[in-house]
Amino acid sequence: MSIRFDSVTVAYDGNVVLDALDLTVAPGEVMALLGPSGSGKTTALRAVAGFVRPASGRVLLGERDVTDLPPHRRGIGMVVQQYALFPHLRVEDNVAFGLKARKTPKAEIRRRVAEALEMTGMAAYARRHPRELSGGQQQRVAIARALAIRPAVLLLDEPLSALDARLRSGMLAELARLHRELPEVSILYVTHDQMEALTLADRIAVMDKARLQACGTPQELYRAPANAFTASFVGNANLLPVTVPARGAVLGDAELTLDTAGAAAGARATLCVRPHLVGLGEGPNRLTGTVREIQWRGATHRLYVDVAGHTVRADLPELREAPAHGERITVHFAPEDAVLLAAGVSGDEH
């Protein structure tokens, strides 16, 4: 079932936390809402669930306008960061909760609880209480509980944030598998972690400051970000202010060759290039600067190079002879690896 935000605005005490969001999640699609805290992504999810009421705009599930429906009549599965399992109920009763609330026949409840627990690999734990389970197991139960009511829409609110890193990547694969098994379920996945969004989502909606900044497939956002925030938040790109003469671009005293279609001659623009696409030594687009910082990260070296007053980050395959701190070096990038964005504030550096 599709999820549609039709110009949804949410405000608390006159404070706009979600500003006229227009977004459609296609049936069976996984849409990630990606953004820093306070960007409005969780508010958008809660508007779909029915826990916040839009000040204006409509929320549609399929053809049905659910804006004025209470949560219990929306038929949505929801999983939150802290699991929110019912502590006094056994795993099987947690999973059966939604079915009992809907007055499902007993035999059907048994069948669907077993099915949901099977699907999440928790069948062996049916008789346990939530406190007897690890964090990852509890999150599986929460997912089973949400799936047991066979929702057409699944809302996941930072479902992996409470888990440690190793468990997180396992659960990520698990979620991808679940979605392959339930291809008709639309999933809205709220996260601040770009890796989760890139791995799992069919499309990513990037949110910041209560607004939708960009929306597209992970590849689109990564290769051709629409704005500086997206370039910085997804893939942590280098953002360098340049001027655009008739052809090419100029950064400091370096003349760069790249596709300047769309940029007016003489205009200021932001050059966006991914750190792992920056190479060491001579090449087509040369930038010369001083090594300010060098970090060894096992498989890679990260260099911070000061070029004409701006920092260029370069992720290089582990170097046999790494440049020294303060050394003057030259880095380069291929013309097709760079994108020109409208001039804006450069993103934060990580």
Partner: protein
């Protein structure tokens, strides 16, 4: 900090059998250690600190209690016998007072639990302006003396109270219709009114601990509010309900001020019976016998509550 349980356990260990090794005899019973430095003197000092409270407890609580028990075993005729008890148990007045006490206490407790649960639900989960102020008022209410409520009820529903005044003015009748304050129902009303906040206090604390994400999860799973209250909130509030309910039950069993102030002549509870026997009839052994029974019921109920609550894993 870790060594404390071991130290505390040591004297009992040593007392149970011969000291197993020289190293352990250092930690011997506090009395034997003398004034010298070491763990023994520390234990002795700890015992010294325990002395004042124990002495105060004995002086102001245990001693009077013992006096009451002794008095209850010494009939006016002299000697020591169970005569006061057999007299008391044989009297219809006692049996009636016992029944009145128990049923009013049970009914008042039930009323407080239902009313307190509903009010606490509203204060905790229905967002309305002033909910916090109301919750704070519950705390203040707990500090009021019980007779104050009874007085307020007298002003409202007493024979010459406001409700009856309005009625007689409006209808010209000689008497108003409200004449229940001097019946057991009046006592029940006053006790429910006064003791309900005692149930609400622990409930509000429990509700504050409740994860709102659980309530939202239940809602999105298709549960309506009554279903959520019954299946999620109530089970998680059970320990708080048990704590508040047992407290109210014991307090109601021993309530004196409310019964006295309603002026209900027909309502004789055990504390009223003690008062009547001791002050009005000067039957001290009889009064003490009733008092001992009252204390035993209270302690018995408290013990039962502890056993039940431990079974429930609370």
């Amino acid at each position: 900090m870790n060594t404390e349980p071991a130290l505390r356990a040591a004297p009992a260990h040593d007392a149970a059998g011969p000291a197993p090794e020289p190293g352990r005899t250092n930690r011997t019973a506090p009395g034997a250690a003398g004034a010298g430095p070491g763990p023994g003197s520390r234990a002795a000092r700890r015992l010294l600190w325990a002395l004042p409270p124990v002495a105060l407890l004995a002086l102001f609580f245990l001693h009077p209690l013992a006096l009451v028990v002794r008095q209850s075993l010494q009939p006016d005729g002299g000697g020591t016998s169970l005569q006061p008890y057999t007299d008391v148990f044989a009297s219809a007045a006692f049996r009636e007072a016992l029944w009145t006490t128990v049923w009013i206490a049970l009914a008042a407790t039930a009323g407080c639990l239902v009313l307190g649960f509903l009010l606490a639900l509203v204060i905790a989960f229905v967002p309305f302006p002033g909910a916090k102020a109301l919750a704070r008022f519950v705390d203040v209410f707990l500090s009021f003396p019980s007779f104050l409520i009874t007085l307020a009820l007298l002003f409202l529903y007493g024979r010459t109270g406001m409700a009856n005044g309005l009625w007689t003015q409006a209808t010209g009748a000689a008497h108003g219709p409200f004449d229940f304050l001097t019946t057991p129902w009046g006592v029940l009303l006053a006790e429910v009114t006064y003791f309900t906040p005692f149930v609400m206090r622990p409930l509000l604390a429990a509700f504050a601990q409740l994860d709102t994400a659980q309530l939202e999860a239940a809602g999105s799973l298709g549960a309506r509010a009554p279903h959520i209250v019954r299946r999620i909130i109530l089970p998680e509030a059970l320990p708080a309900l048990a704590a508040g309910g047992s407290l109210v039950l014991v307090l109601c069993l021993n309530e004196f001020g409310i019964v006295l102030f309603t002026g209900a002549k027909g309502v004789t509870t055990l504390p009223m019976l003690v008062y009547g026997k001791a002050i009005l009839e000067s039957d001290y052994p009889g009064a003490c016998a009733v008092a001992v029974v009252n204390v035993l019921i209270s302690v018995g109920l408290y013990g039962l509550y502890r056993v039940v609550s431990r079974r429930a894993g609370a």
